[in-house]
Amino acid sequence: MSKNINIITSTVVPIHIENIDTDQIIPARFLKATSREGFGKNLFRDWRYQSNDENQPKEDFVLNNPTYSGRILVAAKNFGCGSSREHAAWAIKDYGFDVVVSSFFADIFKNNALNNFLLPVTVSDAFLDKIFTAVEEDHTTEVEVNLPEQYIKILSAGEQESFDINSYKKTCLLNGYDDIDYLLSMKKEIEQFELQK
């Protein structure tokens, strides 16, 4: 797993569906592992395969369509709703994505993604439509996600939009820091807080 994010330029994989919940991203029956690795092969499991059979891919699903590939996943609004399972972020990252773009993310998913150096980029509904349209017209369309400058750009069209991220999280992602590193550095203050509580 790459432990920092900077500028990512890539073709995109579009999933034009709203309210994609984490049960679709990774169904509960695949949560039985005790390690973080290997969830990518079951990403979108029941949308990818007929009758739970890896030998029967559903051809109309985008991950089975060789036309689309890349490190950026683009999905319609309210992505990652439902269960708090971090396995969803692990599966997306493990499959090979570094960025998810949507017009709206569920809160817990967003935190889980950030904690795994998977960048959630929230764009306007209008800009999301522009990406979907651009990719529909030309699947080789490249998108640049620029974390230092906080913008996302459809390269062929030259269209771009800025995105928000809090400065603390941005520093973490650019430098590969974990929240846990920060919290551990605060041990003394936490102990002090407990005494006063």
């Binding site: 034009h16 569906i17 709203e18 309210n19 919940d21 049960d23 679709q24 169904p27 509960a28 029956r29 949560l31 039985k32 592992a33 005790t34 390690s35 973080r36 029941d46 009758s51 739970n52 319609a76 609004k77 309210n78 709703c81 439902g82 269960s83 708090s84 399972r85 971090e86 396995h87 972020a89 709206f104 993310f105 569920a106 809160d107 817990i108 935190n111 889980n112 904690n115 795994n116 809090n166 400065s167 603390y168 999280k169 974990d178 929240d179 846990i180 920060y182 919290l183 551990l184 605060m186 041990k187 203050e189 936490i190 807080f193 407990e194 509580k197």
Partner: protein, 466 residues
Amino acid sequence: MAKTLFDKIWEKHVVKNIEGGPSVLYIDKHFIHEVTSPQAFKGLEQRGLPVFRPKQVVATADHNVPTLNQHLPIKEELSRIQVQTLKDNCEKFGIELYGLGHPFQGIVHIIGPELGITQPGMTIVCGDSHTSTHGAFGAIAFGIGTSEVEMVLATQCLMQSKPKLMRINVDGELNKGVVSKDIILYIISQISASGATGYFVEYAGSAIRSLSMEGRMTICNMSIEMGARGGMIAPDETTFNYMQGRLFAPKGEEWDKAAEYWKTLYSDADAVFDRELNIRAEDIEPMITYGTNPGMGIGISGHVPELNEVAEKASFEKSLHYMGLQPGEVLKGHKVDYVFIGSCTNARIEDLRMVASFVKGKKKADNVEVWVVPGSKQVEKQAVEEGIDRIFEEAGFMLRQPGCSACLGMNEDKIPAGKYCISTSNRNFEGRQGPNARTMLASPLTAAAAAVTGVVTDVREMLQEQ
């Protein structure tokens, strides 16, 4: 300055505010279970860290456990390893485990309150999105991911940005046959599955105040289904009466001191919320869902929306295709194959009592299989003591052993492909109860009515008969 209930608890738990970033928030209680904790413990081991405050962590096995023959070793290998891993980690790190076979075992959000571990004014987290349940006691309680589980194990703290605050007031008298599950399904149907994302919700109003603690927990439990990180209700006499005498609740002088503080936990009269929503209790009828997210709910006398009534047609059509339903279809009278009464939403003793008092002397329809899965060993024991188990047996309902069960179908309790299940659980997502299973969410009362008739039923018509 006027403060909300949320503000009062939040401010007491901020260790530090980071400039331009989140706050370091102190966590009082941390519940863990077998599915979202193993990688967190592994992380601690890799960093060579102990659990910082093991006495503030409580563990149980619920998501992955069988609900029959719990005294036997778990058959499925991966599930067995996961449950064993929890046991090993708890022993190694000094954490109290209410595992399989323990008289306190059960669904994590059921055992916390019933043991008196969940208390007003606390910050509570768990690697499970339905942690919002505990907010019914006037606590800040929310679900977290596994990396965050690791942070809390290591430091008893989390990095959190303060959410926006929403208040939902439900005022008036509930109609006959309408229970707390219908209130929350109604609210979600009104504001959609993403309508409260970014918010913490406080539920208030006379209809909420009139609910028991069990009813309040059902409401707070499903806050996440409209995107809210958590839900909460200010504690009152109902809360204190529920808590008094519970195993881990304060006793004697400590109780008096705690109760004095708890009584200060309410939103001040002129406190301002980022958003406020008013609901008339009289507008709510028994609810049922027709689609594949909990926002897709309708009153039992209504119909599935027509195509021209929805904004996002592609997602709507995909959803109806999955459910095998048509736009405009009336659900009343639709065939049902399974009824599941259970989950952290509706598997408390009050839910089982509600179902038992309705089905007493009735029998299930031949075409329906009915599973009742109590939320905990304590609920199971109480059901037996009250004779509820015999009522279920006579009705042809199967009373199983505690666990999350068919709510998420992680163990073998799965609804077969294509079958319709009326479920008292919280999610109707595609494949949630098993690959291609079709879930309709409803209250325990509506579920019980369907169990008896074998079709989607307006329970109010049967209550009139009684």
